[in-house]
């Protein structure tokens, strides 16, 4: 018989594999202790988002703090999307079809996840569409994981769309890289696989390097008097007369590159370590 319900396939022909994963990306900044660098009390905003005013023009006017520049701020052919990665929308990925508690049976049934008993063949969506959407959602989130695995195998290939078996997706692998900041003796490490996009990475680095507990507490105060206090502190803490930094990374070839040019997945496969560089030292990038 043809057709079926609504737009769907014939009842009962749904098949979904169980994917159970830890929830979404964990901000490494949650784990990181406050930095030792007491002299750095300014909050610097790493800007990768699409906030207006950043493109082309100097960053200073847009924020109260100096900024680490990334590829977004520099003219490039392919603009970085301002939206967050689609991985954030696929956070709710642990799905399964429960065996219907009713008298119906399914043609192919996965184990119940216990959350809710769902009805076979409902909502009425064609099975091929279900397969494709589920697999794609899975693969978009696991893209970051697969990049770590490939790196470990020293295979040079583009981040693929391979469906990773559920064992891998259950335990997220880490990709810790060193981060050094000019003027800072002690480096840090950040887990790139805890992030799905440049924005959260930038935030994490900002929290790590450019905010002390004091500054964080102060920024929570919203009154104008306190803001003036912060500004005053900032001006007195400037290092070397410059408050602008650039986020760069060393890639597999040993070259130092500006962070943000390439898609996130490609970045994580080629990055070896990060460096927050003073713009004045970054030749050719200009101000």
């Amino acid at each position: 018989m043809q057709g079926g319900f609504f737009g769907g396939g014939s009842g009962g022909s749904l098949c979904m594999s169980t994917v159970s994963m830890e929830d979404n990306v964990v901000m490494s900044s949650e784990d990181s202790s406050s930095p030792d660098e007491g002299e750095l009390e300014l909050g610097l905003g790493l800007s990768l988002g699409g906030a207006a005013g950043f493109k082309g023009s100097g960053p200073r006017g847009c924020q109260q703090y100096a900024r680490i520049l990334t590829a977004k701020d520099l003219p490039s052919k392919v603009s970085v999307s301002s939206s967050s990665s689609t991985t954030s929308s696929s956070s709710t990925l642990s799905r399964a079809i429960a065996t219907a508690g009713t008298k119906r049976t399914a043609d192919s049934v996965a184990a119940s996840n216990g959350v809710a008993s769902q009805v076979v063949g409902w909502p009425p969506i064609r099975s091929h569409r279900m397969h494709i959407m589920v697999n794609q959602a899975k693969s978009q989130v696991t893209e970051e994981f697969s990049s770590m695995n490939k790196r470990k195998n020293a295979v040079e290939e583009k981040v693929g769309n391979k469906n990773i078996n559920t064992d891998n997706t259950k335990a997220r692998t880490s990709l810790f890289v060193k981060v050094n900041m000019d003027g800072t003796l002690i480096g840090r490490k950040v887990d790139l696989n805890a992030h799905g996009c440049y924005e959260t990475l930038a935030q994490a680095l900002e929290n790590m390097f450019l905010r002390t507990t004091t500054t964080v507490n102060m920024t929570r105060l919203s009154t104008p008097e306190h803001k003036n206090m912060i500004d005053a502190k900032r001006h007195s803490q400037l290092l070397g007369g410059s408050s602008e930094f650039v986020l760069t990374y060393e890639d597999k070839d040993g070259d130092w590159m500006l962070v943000g040019d390439v898609p996130w997945g490609m970045f994580t496969t080629s990055v070896k370590r990060l460096r927050i560089m003073r713009t004045s030292e970054a030749t050719g990038l200009g101000k």
């Binding site: 018989m1 979904m16 970085v80 079809i97 009713t102 008298k103 494709i132 794609q136």
Partner: protein, 421 residues
């Protein structure tokens, strides 16, 4: 091999090709292909064979490839076939170098005749601008495999003023649908699919607000398929008031039997408004909490209705009876999980011969009822599929259709054909 084969379309089949070599089976002198569609093939294809085939088939107008074809390879195909009118891309994962991106942009720029675009697996906003050169001529855009957010969709739709048909995932949200309303005044068909159909924990997706927004901007809308998690009677009334020309109205409120979330009432008045206002309605799918009143309305007003899909609805046999009595042009009726029993089934005795088919599953129909139907109407095939563990008297799934060829002889063992004896 037919030398004059012009169309190879395996889109709808869930094919799993083990060998991967089928493309190489086209002989060298085979050049007549106009349509090649293997979008849903699950396996890799031999790209060289594909490229050669596309190159030599100068009349190729429709090309829809599967996910195994990368963006880099897509560029090569586009260069070979700039006269395409319909394109289904392969993977759109953003993995190109700057130079490759520029080449892809150029390739798209050459395709002046494209009016239909689909595929776009793993597309992100990053690379959507590469499509901009062809957007102004697009009439059908299928984004139903692309996880886009509202702003990303809005940017794209601003480039597509001539769009008539749009398929999207509900990741675009109500805000994305507002953008549809604002940018696509010529829209005639909208389908919104759920990205995460089984998600009950976190509310996202689209609501009634999204479709209402579309209805204000797209007055020519006549086909809608809408998966949502909440709806109101008032919203549906507004929607059909704005767009009275619906021929296909398929609304799927995903939680079975869910009432109007604001008033907590059944959704009867919603569908009452649909059938009263949309006199050209041919296809209707109902959902939400519905009493017999919905079916009374349908029987009373839906005089052009040909296909009706019902699930988890109705209060008694009377509901189904109203539909069978009132919908003079009814051809296909499919019902699941409704309290309709033998009385309802048999009330349609006279009707089923003028219909294409009736499907009833998980209703209250019994084997005896089906046998009676088969006996009274010998020109109908009455097929019953029973489920394991169900009680002997219940007819779990019933399929009734007219036939001059008698009962089918190729039915699998689970299908019981009830004869008129």
């Amino acid at each position: 091999m037919k030398r004059s084969l012009t169309q190879l379309d395996i889109q709808e089949n869930g094919i799993d090709d083990k060998s991967g070599g089928w493309l190489s089976c086209f002989p060298e002198n085979f050049t007549s292909l106009e349509v090649l569609n293997f979008a849903n093939l699950n396996t890799d294809v031999n790209f060289d064979a594909l490229e050669k085939l596309v190159s030599r088939c100068k009349s190729l107008k429709v090309l829809k490839v599967n996910k195994s074809v990368s963006l880099e390879n897509l560029q090569r195909l586009l260069v070979c076939a700039p006269r395409l009118t319909e394109l289904g891309t392969g993977s759109f994962m953003p993995e190109l170098t700057g130079r490759q991106y520029a080449e892809l942009e150029t390739a798209f720029n050459q395709c002046k005749n494209l009016n239909t675009l689909s595929g776009l697996w793993e597309a992100t906003a990053l690379y959507l601008p590469v499509l901009y050169p062809i957007c102004s001529n697009l009439t059908f855009l299928n984004l139903s495999y692309t996880f886009l957010q509202s702003l990303e969709l809005a940017s794209l739709l601003r480039q597509c003023p001539r769009l008539k048909r749009l398929w999207v995932l509900d990741t675009v949200g109500d805000k994305g649908l507002e953008a549809v309303g604002s940018n696509c005044p010529l829209l005639e068909e909208l389908r919104v699919f759920p990205a995460d159909p089984f998600d009950e924990e976190i509310i996202h997706g689209v609501t009634e607000a999204g479709l209402v927004a579309v209805s204000y901007g797209c007055r020519r809308l006549h086909y809608v398929l809408y998966f949502c998690r909440q709806m109101t009677n008032a919203a549906v009334a507004t929607i059909v008031q704005n767009c009275p020309d619906f021929t296909h109205f398929r609304l799927c409120i995903m939680n079975p039997g869910q009432p109007d979330y604001l008033t907590n009432e059944p959704m009867d008045e919603a569908f009452g408004a649909v059938v009263r206002t949309c006199t050209k309605l041919q296809r209707l799918s109902v959902s939400g909490l519905l009493t017999d009143l919905t079916f009374k309305y349908i029987g009373q007003y839906a005089k052009n209705l040909e296909t009706l899909s019902v699930a988890f609805a109705g209060s008694s046999d009377r509901g189904m009876q109203c539909v069978l009595e009132g919908c003079t042009k009814l051809r296909k009726l499919e019902i699941r999980d409704c309290p309709f029993g033998n009385v309802a089934l048999l009330s349609g005795l006279e009707k089923y011969e003028s219909m294409r088919s009736l499907w009833m599953s998980a209703c209250n129909v019994t084997m005896n009822g089906c046998r009676l139907l088969a006996r009274e109407m010998p020109r109908l095939n009455v097929e019953v599929m029973k489920e394991d563990g169900s009680d002997d008297t219940q007819a779990d799934k019933v399929y009734v259709y007219r036939s001059v060829a008698g009962p089918r002889r190729d039915a699998p063992p689970c299908v019981l054909t009830l004869s008129g004896l």
